[in-house]
């Protein structure tokens, strides 16, 4: 009370004075409302005075009484009108209204520190008993700021509650700045940490699934650390990259990959360097107005990630542990050994060869002896385990704020030996060096390791895909059969001596380990030159060191053939970014607000890769750690690529009377990967928003419709998807031999294009933000039309040119769509809350024209499984979707009735196929023969709609969150089914096919069940593998209990239990409809071939906040 304080204020309210005093003394101040009203503005210039002296100066001329409560550090100031002490159990009545004087119904009125309370009636009136005149009444109402009043001697207390417009004041991070959500002119979705933390995934991109309208996230592999394909408002590019630009704490991330997999399976996720628990919020910039500030990298949308930073206040230590298990959702049933052996015998007899499974040796049991045999899929699967530990410490004072976090994540997948681990350390530090200068430091290091079992390797090579093998491996062979024993190599497995590779050994003995080391450091200075003008400069660097070691020991087929084989691959990526910009912000004439940014940026990226292979090991002891023991060396390769981007950017936001908002943004980008005739690109955009809600004519509706804003924007953005050196012809080493002497040779192996330029997207957007009932219900709707032209195409040129492809700019693609997001606070009171969010988006892609080219095919790589190798699986053609599945249409199966009395076929044949039970194709051009010309569009891999639906309930200390997510109307090409349900010999089949296949006794016409003996040559991508990929998934359910213990050192303790992928409703017959074996390929989406099985995950978590 006798504390000395200093205070200087001019024309301030008493509340401002109280605030300053609170800062200096730690006391809080409460004054009679009527008294405050009388006070008016105060000017003070006092130093070294006691608190009492200062307060007396403030209330000079008023008869006041001051009560100092030292225990609670509270000072109560009241008018001395009545000195009488309030009667106990006095009754207080009053009326609660909104700012406009309209009565509020159902406002809860309570006495502080008492449980009992009342609510206002239809006229906004209340009546409540208070224990003493020192009691404090609390008025709380959803959507309004809570108010407190001291009773004193008042018997009537009327309150006007101030609306707390929910959501509109939330800060949205945009490129080079922030903006209040209410002032946005572009289409931007925000996702908070609260939503991110619910889905257990190693990388944040997977957690975005279903969270934002217009953002399609497909997990292309369900393995630990698996990759994801992200498309914001559809794919623009046919051959270029469609992944968005990631900007992390203002730092534009380079395109980072990892050490090469040398064709052995899918890539893992390059975003593994960022710990999702460190993220504060994610903004997804969707329209051109928002992304044009990122110019040549803006066309695919921009994902802005902001990490957690320290706040002023007491130190907060938070520790959480999460652990759980996962199991397979859906297992296809394959044939038993008996079924397999019967089938092999039948196949042999049909071609005049003796039945192989005749009981002549232990390796050739009769079908009956073979019995159930080995269930290979069961052998390679297990229960997955995951765990996560997270520790964060944050806090700070007015000088320094810090957030330090450490994290360990581990996920053991449902396929044996697949496992990802990651450790991460991050320090975010902010320093106010002076009043004008703030320095922010960000540093993180991440180390991750991934043991991979290579799902999808079948898409790339015959070796190494355990899932694909386990589905089709010969079940007669015992589980411990080795590649070198009687079952091994080429000597058994069937009568034709086909290869047998033991799927279990491939999983347990093959080594495939990727290690990534990521570091990130950034220094950002913000200098306030004047009140309005600031200068921001940042320098930062990311580094990735990645290595992938693959070793095929002898028990694997490759190891058997080559006396073990090792691959050692390394990759480094070093990126530097320097940015400098001015920011300017000023309000003119209390009505006009200008916000502007102008700056420049320089980015240098250097990536280097090294890959090597050796084979011929004396044993399998040292593997990739001792390649010098190998006897056969293959030519290693190195590569170095440097990219430079120089940019200038500018943006202005102009706000007229909080009604009309204009934004102009643009960027000029010069990039080294652009061809020499087109080094610089310019990307302008403009946006206009009309806050209708602030128009005078709208005031009548304002009580119901609390926000209404119309947004429009148009702009041009680019995609610099040109591969490094893509515009240049290149010469490669192509040697020849003379006897055993190697003679150096070289050849031009790619043909260049000096006019190559970036892809250009022109996007128009119209959006509406509307909110009702004090923003309890908020709706955002957007419609967009995005046309991308000058498409970069790795264009298939006739092989007669000597080359297979060249890169060109040709054609245009349109994506148009609708997005709709709804958020509602359905219940929000002191005991219960229910918030619900729903978003749905519908994108339609259409190829407007291909630049005179008739069509582009999506060809499986030349190294893929043989029947799809180099075969068109998808087509891109004028007026079609991007892309469409493509192939022959089987109408039914060939039956006896399809031959005339002379035994001549009466149908058009493909490859002279006339055997009963084989596919009978539609002769679409009626030329009497089935050829490539009869191929048709078979399906559309693009979903018609995507949605996400969240519900968060809480009741007292218990909360429940339920999240549904779905994809509707897309097709999947299920190539796994090609192996499991066609008559191709040598491979096991689905039990379903064995049971239903065409036989003389069962002359079915179902194209899913052809007869045995379908040759590879006749096996084509066709309509028999196209399935509906729609699904609705109960993605996550989380139950948590907040103990709210506020004792000793514990501030808070939360226990949670969650289940992920609890329920999936789909008609898809494979493991799971979320597939993409060709990863991010734009031309080969939605293809299933030996995909890693998706699992259900159950987790328990404990979160603890310490004092």
């Amino acid at each position: 009370f006798a504390q000395k304080v200093n205070i200087q204020v001019k024309d301030a309210s008493i509340n401002e004075v109280f605030y300053k005093l609170t800062q200096q003394t730690g006391h809080t101040f409460t004054a009679d409302a009527a008294l405050i009203k009388k006070l008016g503005r105060i000017s003070l210039n006092l130093s070294n005075k006691t608190l009492k002296e200062v307060l007396e100066r403030c209330f000079v001329g008023h008869d006041v009484q001051m009560v100092f409560n030292e225990k609670d550090k509270i000072v109560i100031i009241k008018s001395n009108i009545s000195k009488a002490v309030a009667q106990p159990s006095a009754n207080v009545t009053g009326r609660v209204t909104d700012e406009n004087g309209e009565p509020l119904v159902g406002v809860s009125v309570g006495v502080k520190n008492q449980i009992a309370g009342v609510v206002t009636n239809t006229e906004g009136r209340y009546s409540i008993k208070v224990p003493s005149s020192n009691s404090i009444l609390i008025f709380s109402y959803l959507g309004f700021a809570t108010e407190e009043r001291i009773v004193l001697n008042n018997r009537e207390i009327n309150v006007a509650l101030k609306g707390k417009p929910k959501g509109l004041d939330e800060i949205v991070v945009i490129g080079y700045g922030t903006v209040q959500r209410g002032d946005l002119t572009g289409a931007i979705s925000s996702i908070s940490q609260k939503d991110l933390e619910k889905v257990p995934a190693a990388t944040f991109d997977l957690k975005l699934q279903g969270r934002a309208a217009g953002v399609m996230v497909t997990s292309t592999s369900a393995e630990p650390g698996g990759n994801a394909a992200i498309r914001i408002r559809g794919g623009n590019s046919i051959s270029g990259d469609n992944q968005p630009l990631y900007v992390i704490d203002g730092y534009p991330m380079p395109t980072i990959t990892e050490a090469s997999g040398t064709g052995y399976g899918q890539e893992s996720n390059p975003l593994s360097g960022i710990n999702p628990d460190d993220i504060e919020s994610i903004e997804v910039l969707k329209d051109a107005s928002a992304t044009a500030i990122y110019g040549a990298r803006g066309a695919n949308g921009v994902v802005i990630v902001t990490t957690k930073r320290g706040r002023e206040g007491a130190t907060n230590i938070s520790f959480d542990v999460l652990t759980g298990t996962s199991r397979i959702i859906n297992l296809p049933e394959v044939g038993t050994a008996q079924q397999y052996a019967e089938f092999q015998n039948e196949w042999n007899q049909s071609r005049g060869v003796f039945p192989y499974y005749d009981g002549s040796s232990e390796y050739r049991p009769t079908p009956e002896q073979a019995g159930i045999g080995t269930r290979w899929l069961d052998e390679i699967l297990r229960t997955g385990v995951n765990q996560k530990y997270n520790l964060s410490i944050n806090g700070g004072n007015s000088q320094t704020r810090y957030n330090i976090s450490g994290n360990y994540f581990e996920e053991s997948g449902v396929v044996k030996n697949s496992k990802m681990t990651r450790g991460n350390l991050r320090i975010n530090l902010d320093n106010n060096i002076s009043k004008k200068f703030t320095l922010s430091t960000t540093a993180s290091i991440t180390s991750s390791a991934n043991n991979r079992i290579n799902p999808g390797a079948a898409a790339a090579t015959i070796h190494g895909d355990a899932i694909y093998l386990a589905l089709r491996a010969n079940p007669v062979i015992p589980v411990d059969a080795t590649g070198t024993g009687p079952w091994g190599g080429t000597t058994s497995g069937d009568s034709d001596g086909n290869f047998f590779e033991n799927p279990l050994f491939l999983v347990t003995q093959k080594k495939d380990k990727t290690k990534n080391e990521d570091s990130f450091a950034q220094l950002k200075g913000d200098y306030k030159i004047t009140q309005d003008l600031g200068f921001v400069a940042n320098v930062g660097s990311t580094r990735r060191y990645s290595e992938r070691d693959i070793y095929f020991p002898r028990p694997t087929a490759l190891g058997f053939l080559y006396n073990s084989m090792a691959f050692v691959n390394k990759y480094t990526n070093i990126n530097y970014v320097t940015e400098a910009y001015f920011r300017y912000s000023k309000v003119f004439a209390n009505k006009y607000k200008l916000n502007a940014v102008a700056g420049t940026s320089y980015q240098l990226n250097e990536s280097r890769a090294y890959s090597s292979r050796v084979s011929g090991f004396p044993d399998d002891i040292l593997n990739t750690d001792g390649v010098q023991f190998a006897t056969t060396l293959y030519t290693p390769s190195t590569s170095k690529v440097v990219r430079v981007i120089k940019s200038y950017y500018i943006r202005g936001n102009f706000d007229i009377a909080s009604k009309y908002l204009f934004t102009f943004a643009g960027r000029a980008d010069g990039s080294s990967v652009f061809a020499k005739n087109n080094k610089w690109g310019y990307f302008p955009s403009g946006a206009f928003a009309w806050k209708i809600v602030n128009e005078p004519f709208f005031s009548g509706l304002k009580r119901t419709v609390t926000d209404l804003k119309l947004r429009t924007s148009y702009g041009i953005t680019g995609s610099q998807a040109i591969a490094p050196l893509g515009s240049l012809s290149r010469i490669s080493s192509t040697n020849y031999a003379s006897g055993e002497t190697i003679i150096s040779g070289t050849s031009i192996t790619s043909v260049g294009n000096p006019d190559l330029t970036w892809e250009q997207s022109k996007q128009a957007n119209i959006g509406l933000d509307v909110a009702f009932w004090r923003n309890r219900v908020r709706i955002t709707a957007d419609a967009y039309n995005k046309e991308t032209d000058r498409l970069l195409q790795s264009f298939n040129i006739p092989a007669s040119s000597g080359f297979l492809t060249t890169t060109v700019n040709m054609g245009s693609v349109r994506n148009r769509g609708l997005e709709f997001a709804l958020a509602a606070d359905l219940i929000d009171n002191r005991v219960a809350k229910w918030t619900s969010g729903f978003n749905i988006s519908m994108n339609r892609s259409k190829v407007l024209e291909l630049g005179g080219n008739s069509e582009i095919y999506g060809l499986a790589p030349a190294t893929a499984a043989s029947f799809i190798r180099n075969v068109p699986i998808t087509i891109v053609q004028n007026g079609g979707t991007l892309p469409a599945y493509w192939g022959l249409v089987a109408e039914r199966l060939i039956q006896e009735s399809d031959f005339d009395e002379n035994g001549k076929p009466t149908f058009a044949m493909y490859n002279n196929e006339r055997r009963l039970g084989q596919w009978l194709y539609k002769d679409t051009n009626n030329d009497g023969i089935i050829t490539a010309a009869d191929r048709q569009i078979l399906g559309d891999p693009n979903p018609k709609a995507l949605f996400g639906f969240t519900n968060d309930f809480s009741y007292k200390k218990l909360s429940v969150s339920v999240f549904f997510q779905g994809v509707l109307g897309n097709d999947i090409m299920n190539l796994t089914k090609a192996y499991l349900s066609t008559g191709m010999p040598y491979l096991n089949k689905s039990a379903d096919w064995f049971a239903n296949r065409w036989t003389a006794e069962n002359p079915t016409n179902d194209i899913s069940y052809p007869a045995l003996g379908t040759e590879m040559a006749n096996l084509q991508p066709g309509n028999y593998y196209i399935e509906d990929g729609s699904y609705i998934r109960l993605k996550n359910v989380t139950l948590s209990y907040d103990f709210k213990i506020n004792k000793s050192f514990i501030r808070n303790l939360t226990l949670s239990a969650s289940a992920t992928n609890l329920l999936t409703i789909t008609n898809y017959s494979g493991f799971d409809p979320e597939v993409g074996i060709f990863g991010n390929s734009n031309l080969l989406p939605g293809i299933d071939l030996g995909s890693y099985p998706r699992s259900q995950t159950f987790q328990l978590g404990l979160k603890c906040n310490l004092k």
Binding site: R351, G352, G489, T490, T491, S495, D496, S615, G616, T632, L633, T635, K640, V641, V642, V644, K646, G670, S672, V673, K676, K679, L725, L728, S729, R730, I731, T734, N735, Y736, A737, S738, G739, E740, G745, T746, I748, V751, I797, P798, A799, S800, S801, G802, F803, L804, T806, S866, N870, P872, N911, N912, E913, I929, T931, A932, Y986, M1016, A1017, Q1020
Partner: protein, 482 residues
């Protein structure tokens, strides 16, 4: 903007290359490089040439479609062979176009161009025989404007082949290559190939009978100059296919060089050809090609070529003797007797695609048989016996005599089977001699799926990919029947 110039760190570009004779020579080796790809000549082309044949069977399902004349237009083997030939042609075109502008001696310049033209002719010769009138490209591809080439007629293709080989035979190609240049074209190789081209033009489909004499004269030049060219029959037939005797193989006029090295291409053929569990290749053979017992019985018992060409019996890895059609053996009809010309030990090759066994594209016995055939067509058998008998006597098959022009013709055709089977001649010969129908109707494999003869079988289809990417070729330009 200078800083934005893109620098190629790990590759060369044409802008900083092709400036001197050394670079031109290295680029010329890049043309030859198209020959020793591990899967083209040794596998894809080999399969396409050998399998459509009544004497041949295959164990491997994917190859049956070739043996059954029932492949798809998108068959990757058919595309690979096409792609590879045009890769060679474009590389040769680069040499032919750029070398005259590079500073070097005239004789070196002409030799480089002659070698490139030899390679271009060889590539077109395979293309025209397999696919018919293909796109005729004679200049380097330098941008999109130069990639769409329509089909030419077979005659136009042959005109280029003949012109290229005529240039090659008379422009400074060495008569004999030192051992360090083994595998590169010689004057003798150019003349032999030209003789073969004339012989082919005389047969189906061009049937230009005036070419018989041109073939006869050209092949006679080779025979008359065999000492100059240092070529001749080897005394022992088996030595021709001995991987350890390739350096001293005088009979090889042009052979594709394969090595055990990992740096350059190796051959996969020993691996694909060797019977199961045999010791003739790394990691076991794949036993892709089998000959019928009918074919075996074409050989006289004394004929030394029989047991070189066919592995009727061998000692397996486990020491057991495996004999074809022995009671209880799985090595039996209808799979066929494995081809024995491409044996290599399992120990030397580091991988199954890294065998060193060369492929003989042109050899002296072929010259003698082609000469005998042309001589008989032009002048009758009288002066043709010596050539055919030289080949027969080496094989201990006895001399022929007393034949008419017609019976001599049949004898030469049979002799080609006995002497040259499994050496990339089959499809080309049965096509030239218009015998496809016989080989379809009497093929075990084709009859398994009841394929009947169709005239389309004289050509492979233009690969689907070419038809769909080449704006100058439409579906209507596909070979009839596909």
């Amino acid at each position: 903007c200078e800083k934005l110039d893109e620098k190629a760190y790990s590759t060369l570009t044409p802008e900083n290359y092709f400036s001197n004779a050394d670079e031109a020579k290295v680029a010329l080796m890049g043309v030859y490089n198209t020959l020793n790809r591990e899967h083209i000549w040794t596998h894809n082309l080999f399969t396409m040439v050998l399998l459509p044949n009544k004497y041949v069977r295959t164990r491997v399902p994917v190859h049956k479609s070739i043996a059954q004349f029932s492949f798809s237009v998108s068959d990757d083997r058919i595309a690979n062979v096409w792609n590879n030939a045009y890769e060679a042609i474009n590389r040769a075109n680069t040499i032919i176009g750029r070398v005259p502008n590079i500073q070097m001696t005239d004789s070196l310049q002409r030799m480089f161009v002659a070698e490139a033209k030899f390679m271009r002719a060889l590539s077109y010769f395979n293309l025209v025989r397999l696919y018919g009138g293909v796109p005729l490209k004679t200049g380097e591809t330098e941008g999109l404007s130069t990639v769409y080439t329509p089909r030419s007629t077979e005659q136009e293709i042959y005109d280029l082949i003949v012109a290229d080989l005529q240039y090659a035979e008379s422009n400074n190609l060495p008569k004999i290559r030192p051992s360090s240049e083994r595998g590169r074209a010689t004057e003798c190789a150019a003349k032999t190939l030209l003789g073969k081209v004339y012989l082919t033009m005389a047969g189906f489909p061009l049937k230009q009978t005036d070419k018989w004499n041109l073939a006869r004269l050209k092949l006679k030049e080779v025979i008359d100059n065999k000492a100059t060219y240092n070529v001749d029959l080897l005394p022992n037939y088996a030595d021709l296919f001995d991987v350890n005797k390739e350096a001293s193989n005088k009979e090889a006029i042009f052979a594709i060089q394969f090595s055990y090295s990992q740096v350059s291409g190796g051959s996969a053929l020993p691996f694909f050809a060797a019977p199961l569990n045999s010791t003739f290749a790394t990691a076991n053979g794949q036993y892709n090609y089998g000959f019928t017992t009918d074919f075996r019985s074409l050989f006289a018992t004394s004929d030394k070529r029989r047991d070189v060409t066919l592995i009727s019996s061998y000692v397996a890895v486990n020491g057991a003797t495996v004999t074809y059609n022995a009671p209880g053996s799985t090595y039996r009809d209808p799979l066929g007797i494995a081809l024995g010309k491409y044996k290599d030990g399992p120990s030397k090759a580091p991988a199954n695609t890294r065998h060193a066994t060369d492929i003989l594209v042109l050899r002296y016995a072929d010259v003698l048989l082609m000469y005998a055939e042309a001589e008989n067509e032009v002048n009758g058998p009288d002066n043709a016996y010596s050539a055919i008998n030289e080949v027969r006597l080496r094989a201990n098959a006895g001399a022929l005599s007393g034949l008419t022009k017609d019976t001599f013709r049949d004898a030469v055709h049979l002799e080609r089977l006995l002497e040259l089977s499994g050496e990339l001649h089959e499809f080309f010969d049965i096509k030239r001699l218009e015998k496809i129908e016989d080989h379809v109707t009497n093929s075990y494999e084709a009859q398994q799926v009841q394929v009947s003869y169709d005239p389309k079988m004289y050509l492979y289809p233009i690969p689907d990919r070419e038809v769909s990417t080449n704006r100058a070729i439409g579906l209507e330009n596909q070979n009839p029947g596909y």
